[in-house]
């Protein structure tokens, strides 16, 4: 049973809110320290934290080893303000030209713990560009192109989230 509240914002954005029964700082550590990330981020699968440079501009890359295959995710940190705010870009190797964008996580203390609000926005690509990225990923397994894309964030997400 999932305890998250999910809302959809437009056609390219989702927001997931969840209250954790834990101090704010503990949740922050779990989200940012490699040793702790490895214990939950992989959803029960083996997770290899290849890089996790938690500072603005720092790169992260996590690889999930599931029975169905190996799934690499990566991006860069944009804003890091412990213990309340983390903005990062993300991409998935398997969905080049599509599964990437920006994720914003914010925490606030609430009754019963701390609420984290995660919002993700994707970027719409023109058809030609999407095809080009697919073609490139077919040759490189998406790794280089994901890194290149991560430098183009969906800035409107942040603007919208900050107004809330």
């Amino acid at each position: 049973m999932s305890k998250s509240k999910v809302t959809k914002q437009g056609d390219r954005e989702i927001r997931v809110e969840r209250v954790f029964d834990a101090p704010r700082e503990r949740v922050w550590s779990a989200m940012t320290e490699s040793k702790l990330i490895a214990q939950w981020w992989g959803r029960g699968h083996k997770l290899v934290v290849e890089s996790n440079d938690v500072k603005p501009g720092g790169k992260w890359r996590f690889v999930e080893h599931a029975p169905e295959g190996v799934f690499g995710f990566e991006g860069r940190f944009r804003e890091v303000k412990a213990p309340e705010r983390l903005v990062l870009t993300f991409g998935w190797d398997g969905m080049p030209g599509h599964g990437h964008g920006r994720e914003l996580r914010r925490s606030r203390p609430v009754a019963g713990g701390v609420e984290w609000r995660c919002a993700r926005a994707g970027r719409r690509l023109r058809e030609g560009r999407r095809r080009a990225e697919w073609a490139r990923a077919g040759a490189s397994c998406g790794r280089e192109s994901t890194a290149a894309r991560a430098r183009r964030p969906a800035d409107d997400l942040r603007a919208r989230e900050d107004r809330r």
Partner: protein, 112 residues
């Protein structure tokens, strides 16, 4: 609410393989038979049929038998399908936050 658990969505599994991503890219430029795809990617007919079956299962490709040839084209579930994008990321986020909740409960009171 549905429990997604650790099982990945069909499309994620289908897209995890570079050959299958290549097949989609190829079909994006025009329909092709299984034989043509096998030649193009330098694999056996049997191997290619397996890849095509996985893509078909995920709704990413449809096939049609025309005479003795099985023709492949992009399926109804396009990669630019917004519903698919939203569903994938919603599942991912929810599953991860569920795991984070479990982790925090499991390690409660055990400060480092």
């Amino acid at each position: 609410m549905v429990q997604y658990g650790s099982r990945l969505d069909d499309a994620f599994g289908a897209l995890s393989d570079p050959t299958r991503r290549g097949i989609l890219e190829r079909l994006g430029r025009g329909d092709a038979s299984v034989t043509e795809l096998a030649d193009r990617f330098g694999m056996t007919l049997t191997g290619m049929k397996k890849h095509v079956a996985i893509l078909e299962e995920a709704g990413l490709v449809t096939t049609e038998k025309i005479g003795r040839v099985r023709q492949c084209r992009l399926g109804p579930r396009r990669l630019d399908d917004e519903a698919m994008w939203i569903t994938q990321y919603r599942r991912m986020l929810e599953a991860r936050l569920d795991r984070l909740g479990e982790f925090l409960a499991r390690t409660k009171g055990r400060e480092r």
